[in-house]
């Protein structure tokens, strides 16, 4: 099976979906001739032309608003927000429009729209190229939020998102773009939205993660395995709607949970996971639900020493696992 990077898998999904369905159009800044600041759309402008790979004015609310209109009139737009940190200009369009169109029309209009956004820290991106934004959108009924981080999942979930009838926020951890490689089968397949996956089986405790933290957690699990701590790692892949079944099954199996995310702790998605587990699996717990997150400061300072101090890494996850395992 061919080995691909995350960015290659992403590009392949876009290419195949555009080839499969002429309603799929891309909108965003620098996505045309330039091929995107991360090269996610490289070659697509040449393959499909300027009418389907549309360089937009530098205006995020307009990008999303125009994409919503295009979806209303039968297209399958994929809008790119160049960095997730800039999505806030489009908040009104996403929260008040895309997410509510179906509900407010009693199901008579829909908004099949994908908004792609590179997110996450660890690349010296400073305050405005590093943010985690998932919790804002996980709060919005009517949206779907996905954050796959293996080449296989990225390709399959992007295809599923493009084919979905509802608006999907598709989060791409920018550090994984070229760092993470993996097997991607030839041909068409999808990974369904709303399905988490146990990426590593274990029996002593469960780590729930997504994004770059999934890879760091897997690394940490290998390290503690040598000490005899057998960790199960659950990759959420989809944040909204949440795969409660997979999460609760793992919690019931191990009895201990560590939630790892690189968003700030307060109001981060870990709180929602902890709430769910407490409500539905309290009797199965053998220890407190732990959350490992970035301290509550704006992310991320540009200086490498400052970023490294705040950012999670496999060592910090190892320490948290040891603490929980000893409980």
């Amino acid at each position: 099976m061919p080995i691909k990077t995350v960015i290659e898998a992403l590009r392949e999904a876009l290419f195949e979906e555009m080839q499969r369905d002429e309603r799929v159009v891309l909108l965003g800044e620098d996505i045309g001739l330039h091929g995107g600041v991360f090269r996610a759309t490289e070659g697509l402008f040449q393959a499909f032309g300027e009418h389907r790979v549309i360089d937009t004015p530098l205006a995020e609310s307009g990008i999303v608003g125009v994409a919503i209109g295009a979806a209303i009139n039968g297209l399958r737009p994929v809008a790119e927000i160049q960095f997730a940190d800039y999505i806030y200009s489009a908040m009104d369009q996403i929260v008040n429009e895309a997410a509510k169109l179906r509900y407010r029309s009693n199901g008579t209009w829909g908004c099949p729209l994908v908004i792609r956004a590179p997110w996450g820290a660890g690349v010296h991106g400073g305050l405005y190229h590093s943010q985690s934004i998932e919790a804002f959108f996980a709060h919005v009924a009517g949206l779907k939020v996905v954050a796959p981080v293996t080449p296989y999942d990225v390709k399959g979930l992007l295809k599923a998102s493009i084919r979905d009838e509802d608006p999907v926020i598709f989060l791409e951890h920018k550090k994984t773009y070229r760092l993470i490689k993996g097997e991607v089968p030839e041909g068409d397949y999808i990974v369904p939205i709303g399905k988490a996956e146990v990426k590593r089986e274990g029996s002593d405790l469960t780590v729930i993660a997504y994004g770059l933290m999934l890879h760091y957690s897997l690394e940490a699990a290998e390290k503690v395995a040598k000490e005899g701590i057998d960790v199960e790692v659950v990759d959420l892949r989809t944040i909204l709607p949440l795969d409660k079944k997979t999460i609760l099954a793992s919690v019931r199996k191990t009895g201990k949970v560590l939630i790892v995310h690189e968003d700030n702790k307060t109001g981060g998605f870990g709180g929602e996971l902890a709430g769910l587990i407490t409500e539905e699996a309290f009797e199965d717990l053998d220890g407190p639900i732990m959350r490992l997150a970035v301290p509550d400061v704006p992310m991320m300072p540009f200086n490498a020493v400052l970023e490294d101090f705040l950012m999670l890494n496999p060592e910090k996850i190892v320490a948290a696992i040891r603490q929980l395992a000893a409980y």
């Binding site: 608003g65 295009a70 008040n96 009693n106 008579t108």
Partner: protein, 342 residues
């Protein structure tokens, strides 16, 4: 910028509709829609004062701007995005009087939203009336996106989007018009400029005289029109639609009009508008003006006028009765259609 001010004599009025390609039947239908919108609007306020309608947003005074523009559309072909004052647009495009009251009373069989939305947020896919929110100006980029899709698909539809003068201060106004200008999209931006955004007067909204001036920045025509002259509004909208349909790109229409009543049933406009000013504008009532013009042109007679008023009043009464008899939604329906249900 082009200016269309309509002050025509009776004879000219007669010739005017012919030049616009409108028949006597068209004129009487336009008049009917204006009367019906007014009759329904008046009853909404009664229902509100009786405690039967929780909220009313009024279009009284805007009837010429709304009917004149909507009458120029290819109904069922062109996409329409209204804003929350557009009862007469909805009626002209094909929403029934009963449906207006179902929206007013938020009933289960309200086709716009089954009672989920505020009144007057009209939506109906078969007529290509697109659902809008209560957020101001967010529908403007949608119009550009719909028009983009029409252009890519090569369909003849033009999109018209309505908004008030306050909306032109929002970023989405700029982003929507700019995108449409860049791509020369088949879209008409229609501003019902009633000089106030709730209480804030135009002079505090913008440092220019006319909203239409802003079109220059986007590379397409901006047109000022007397929004209380239904035929002048029809004329400029028809021109804009024709231009859009033939590939000529967008137009921004600045229809000057006036809202006779408070912003909504929750507002008291005495805090910000003098009664003298309101009375002065009521003398320019678009319905009375059209009536006078039609009478002078011999198209309408007093007898025909009485008949039209009786007919529209009866239609409005029937709608009120029908609306009140209609059931509320099933409470459990509140959980439906968050996502696609197949």
């Amino acid at each position: 910028m082009i200016s269309k001010q309509g002050t025509l004599t009776a004879k000219q009025e007669e010739g005017r509709h012919v030049a616009l390609g409108l028949s006597v039947k068209d004129l009487l239908e336009m008049y009917d829609k204006m009367l019906l919108a007014r009759a329904l609007d008046e009853r909404m306020w009664l229902l509100n004062r009786q405690g039967k309608a929780n909220f009313v947003v009024s279009g009284q005074g805007h009837e010429a701007a709304q009917v004149g523009s909507a009458y120029a559309l290819k109904r069922g072909v062109d996409f329409v995005l209204t804003y929350y004052r557009d009862h007469a647009v909805a009626l002209t495009v094909g929403i029934s009087a009963r449906d207006v009251m179902l929206s007013t009373l938020a009933k289960a069989n309200d086709p716009s939203s089954a009672g989920r939305q505020f009144p007057a947020h009209y939506s109906f896919p078969p007529l290509r009336i697109v659902s809008v929110s209560s957020a101001v100006a967010t529908q403007i980029p949608h119009a550009s996106g719909i028009a983009l899709a029409s252009k890519l698909k090569g369909e003849e539809a033009v999109t018209i989007v309505y908004f008030g003068d306050g909306a032109t201060s929002k970023g989405d106004f700029h982003e929507g018009l700019n995108f449409a200008g860049v791509h020369k999209l088949p879209v008409v931006f229609f501003c019902e400029n009633n000089l106030y955004a709730i209480s804030v007067p135009l002079s505090k909204q913008m440092a220019i005289q006319d909203v239409a001036e802003r079109a220059k920045a986007y590379g397409f025509p901006g047109v000022v029109v007397d929004g209380n002259d239904v035929l002048a509004v029809y004329e400029v909208t028809k021109e804009a639609l024709d231009r859009a349909r033939s590939g000529g790109g967008p137009t921004l229409i600045d229809a000057k009009t006036y809202r006779f009543l408070p912003h909504t049933s929750e507002d008291d406009d005495r805090r910000y508008r003098s009664r003298e000013e309101v009375e002065e504008w009521k003398k320019r009532d678009p319905i009375e003006r059209f009536r006078r013009d039609l009478l002078q042109a011999g198209i309408l007679t007093e007898a025909l006028d009485q008949e039209a008023r009786k007919r529209t009043a009866a239609e409005a009464e029937d709608a009120v009765e029908f609306g009140q008899k209609s059931p509320d939604p099933d409470p459990k329906d509140a959980l439906r259609y968050v996502y696609f249900e197949g």
